[in-house]
């Protein structure tokens, strides 16, 4: 099917999705809005499916998303080829879009980017559920995710384990947690990243308790979460890379010496023969091998 798709129409579809409206796509492509509209309609007739929801901004339907991903992959292949041929001018940098979870971005991920000079990075900070959707839509080419199940069209490789330690400010621990943890944790104020974060609950269950307590503070940034724990707002599970310096300075204490939670991280990326993407994947693997546990 792919080879028979009218590529100009596919590129137009991508422009409409990226720009959000038919008019903006027309301006970006230097054609009239009615030309844009005709191309999209022609593509819908050819494929026999509705490809766009006519919302503001425009959104691809499920069928449309398949073509949008194809268009992005096509654009990437073209750009790589032009780059290898020395045809990409200074106005056309090689762009790599990646979805990353907040804790990776706050700890080790930027180091990986520094290993691949000459690329332009577009990072999206997303939890792992949304990550898969971004890969499926083709909005990102790769993602750091906790899911080992490949999104269709993607390959997966393991990166290592990120360890989360149960910590609190010293005064907080003395006041709320001076005794058996499974009994005390459900009564103590707890930090939670967002509504989807069941990490603290999981830790309490791991200790044999029921769940973390109802006194919950939601702070949905990695550094804000850490700052709030250090300020004594609540206890929380913190990546060891962030916790260690504060543990050394005595600004945090470990709540349990032999208990923690590990999250296995994976790298998912489009199956695409792109030198830029391959170089990034290599840099991410190398950095993760140093920063994460095995």
């Amino acid at each position: 099917m792919m080879t028979e798709l009218p590529l100009e129409q596919v590129r137009t579809l991508l422009a409409v999705v990226d720009e959000g409206t038919f008019d903006a796509a027309a301006a970006a492509l230097h054609v009239t809005p009615s030309a844009v509209s005709q191309r999209v309609k022609a593509l819908e007739q050819r494929t026999g499916r509705v490809l766009l929801q006519r919302t503001k901004p425009v959104r691809p339907t499920e069928s449309g998303a398949v073509l949008v991903r194809f268009a992005r992959q096509l654009a990437r292949l073209e750009r790589d080829a032009r780059g290898e041929l020395g045809l990409s001018g200074p106005g056309e940098p090689t762009r790599v879009s990646v979805a990353v979870n907040a804790d990776s971005l706050a700890t080790w991920f930027l180091q990986a980017l520094l290993r691949v000079p000459g690329l332009c990075f577009e990072l999206h900070r997303e939890d792992e559920d949304h990550t898969a959707a971004l890969l499926r839509e083709g909005l990102v080419m790769a993602a750091v995710t906790s899911s080992p199940d490949p999104v269709p069209g993607c390959s997966v490789r393991p990166l290592g384990r990120m360890r989360y330690l149960p910590v609190a400010a010293p005064e907080f621990a003395a006041r709320h947690l001076d005794g058996p943890l499974p009994d005390l944790l459900p009564e103590a104020p707890v930090m939670v990243f967002d509504r989807k974060d069941d990490f603290q609950d999981g830790f309490v269950r791991q200790l044999g308790g029921t769940a973390a307590g109802p006194l919950r503070h939601h702070v949905p940034t990695s550094e804000g979460f850490l700052d709030a724990v250090a300020a004594g707002l609540g206890w929380g599970m913190v990546p060891e890379a962030q916790a260690r310096p504060l543990l050394r300075e005595g600004r945090l204490v470990l709540l349990a010496r032999r208990e923690w939670m590990d999250v296995r991280l994976h790298w998912q990326q489009w199956k695409l023969d792109s030198p830029a993407l391959a170089a990034l994947a290599e840099a991410v693997s190398t950095t993760a091998a140093q920063a994460l546990r095995h």
Copy 2:
């Protein structure tokens, strides 16, 4: 109209929106799924409007959002009243949900929370466009926003100005920006928060140039953005509270001594006679008065 609304049905609607499905709402309310479904249908017949989009998760329609906001305000009033009467047990903390922009959260906002002990905070990190939507839907009761235009049902007070300084790593500045900035900035790699961030472009225009260059890195966290600038990935506009320590250590340099950009921040909150919300607003005002410019 409000006083005639069947409150049990309104609460059920809220539970469905919060839990995401009819089944989960039924479990939370300890009733059968068909009871939930009947209540929502009855409310839709009574109001003559479709209130929920039957997606997964369920979403309120525009009319539904009005009732959801009403239900949240109702729940808040009830909780405050019970709290003042000493009726709220340890299982029912007073919860305050607030939307905050990333840079405020990374710099001064947590300090405000520490001034109001005894509340549970649910922070949402959002750019200012989405902030208004969250207030309108009633998902948050208050927001730090750049918009001085009140969302319907909300009051606004100014907080002060957050100053952004143009900075880069010293080696980066020596390599890319050793000359007239309006000419050099459009050629240099630039950090951008996300696709909506036109801050760097605005700064270049302020200097008389056209826009920041096409070599753009998108890093959508406040601390990641700062780290990337300090690592030499690009220049960027950084809140002065974050820039000052690194400027002192020589890890960043100012690109222009007399040029910066200021963002006026505002506090928007529901017009609601809630002691918890009033205490937080007071703490936010006081903290902002110290942390921001006037």
